[in-house]
Point group: C2
Chain length 319, copies 2
């Protein structure tokens, strides 16, 4: 039987999702468990095994030729291990080996979750047709992944594109990562909300102090709310411009909860990009909202597995 | 006859150098002209043609299979044009076409000068054996180039690695490029000297106000001179850490006049790198002085030509 499908796992701090995906990116079979994120490592692994077990029980499983994993980071693709910040029970956890065993020896490809999102947007979403792209998620954190020269660029350990933790303000506020002035420290949803509150913005009667509530206030013209989004946009623009200046991307795709703010974010972001993307070869850089929905992680993990099979086939070692 | 040599051109604002280089990176034939940088474009091209003419007149010319150009930027490798900031007579100048004609139709590979330096350090210098490296020049300006996945990464227009113009201080001083707080605006030689002078440092009896003089004062313990180098080191560290966080380099190589300051630069740089390169996959990042001398541009242009021939051969189109 032809191996025309791939299996995919999307492992985050909240849920573990699995799927069988065809070569057009369609999800044919799904499985999901909540992540027992505060439990010991074996308990977390049991949830993963249950998801994989549901997939292997499908009559379509025999058609799966590879398995892709997109995992919360940091990951170490070269060692096959993961150490997700939000899953303390997993430190250098040998996820690739364990999943391979659960999946009957299928080839397994591991990438970070930002890389998986980039794979999905490049394959099916807003970066389709672009050979050089940065795809980001701006949400509770800020993550990303890169497409370079037409292919996903995950780097030797699967972590490339970690734009949330580049410093764009070297004298800026301390970031939990240990550095200062990181893009995430300025532009994540919680930091947008914190800055608005610190500058005197007050929530409405519902008491909602999320970035979404700040966005609503900004849309209504609240100057403090607008200023907080402007500042986030400036940090994102400096980070995106730095990426373009270093590796010549021509499009930045932004998804995640904060991107749902629409023009409250994108209008100042496009203005700020003109201030920071100044060299001739980056002036055409555009920034657009993501197109993939909540399945981006699964579709991207599938794309990573398919890409790795394509690479293997090109090298004459494919099956 | 075997095409076992390549021709190389290193085009800067001061000189135009040419060479025939063997497959071990040895320079067998040299030619050089001053760059008539303030003259019209055809006058500058005439100097290039004279250099190429000296090379084609060599009995070894028949063994040259390709020609590499490393040029002051910005370049546009996809269009084959250059627009060096310091050569106003060349704006979108069709250098590749003109050099190809002067070189009897040889295949020509164009890269930016920072990319050429990276090619040289990867082939023969401090980045040899490293699959993922950033190579920089810190001098009057700050430039760079990248090696990713074992190969030179020049980007679609040949400008990748432009670390001098990423912003590491988004509220920082205006940079001539139009942005603010660029690495070059903080860490170049002239900016190290300017900052020292503005903070009260005074030159010795010889009146030398260069960065080298500031370095000498720093070595003698002058606190203002030390502080100016510390600040430059911080900006370089933030830029290098950003690059590593985005594309997973494991070594940064620094050459150019400011790097000759030795520990005055490298000691605070290594300290600052620990502050900014915080994620697990970049903590092993090392920073070392460049090994290539003044021939780095020529050797790197040769490497770019050889790399492109190797790529062509791998794709089955090599000659």
């Amino acid at each position: 039987m032809q191996n025309d499908l791939v299996a995919a796992l999307d492992i985050g701090g909240t849920k573990i999702a699995g799927a069988l995906v065809d070569s057009d990116g369609r999800i044919l079979v799904r499985a999901q468990r909540p992540t027992p994120a505060q439990e010991d490592g074996e308990t977390v692994m049991r949830a993963v095994s249950e998801v994989v077990g549901e997939l292997t029980a499908s009559p379509l499983w025999a058609r799966a030729g590879a398995l892709g994993i997109g995992s919360a980071g940091p990951v170490d693709a070269s060692a096959g291990t993961v150490s997700p910040v939000n899953v303390p029970g997993w430190r250098d956890f040998p996820l690739v080996e364990r999943v391979r065993a659960a999946a009957g020896g299928l080839p397994v490809e591991l990438v970070g979750d930002g890389v998986a999102i980039a794979a999905a947007e490049h394959w099916q979403g807003a970066a389709r047709g672009h050979d050089n792209a940065l795809c980001m998620v701006v949400s509770t954190g800020v993550g990303g992944g890169l497409v370079l020269g037409g292919s996903l660029y995950s780097g030797p350990t699967g972590n490339a594109g970690h734009i949330g933790h580049i410093s764009v303000q070297l004298d800026g506020d301390p970031c939990p990562c240990g550095a200062r002035g990181c893009v995430e420290r300025i532009a994540s949803g919680p930091n947008i909300a914190r800055r608005a509150l610190e500058s005197g913005w007050r929530p409405g009667p519902d008491g909602d102090t999320s970035a979404a509530a700040v966005a609503e206030a900004a849309r209504a013209g609240d100057p403090v709310a607008l200023a907080s989004f402007e500042r986030a946009a400036q940090a994102l623009a400096a980070g995106i411009a730095a990426t373009a200046t270093l590796v010549e991307i021509d499009i930045a795709v932004i998804g995640g909860g904060v991107a749902k703010s629409g023009d409250v974010l994108f209008a100042p972001l496009r203005r700020a990009l003109r201030d920071y993307a100044t060299l001739s070869f980056v002036q055409q850089l555009t920034v657009v909202p993501a197109l993939m929905g909540t399945d981006a992680g699964l579709v991207g993990a599938a794309a990573a597995a398919l890409g790795s099979r394509a690479g293997a086939a090109a090298a004459g070692v494919g099956g």
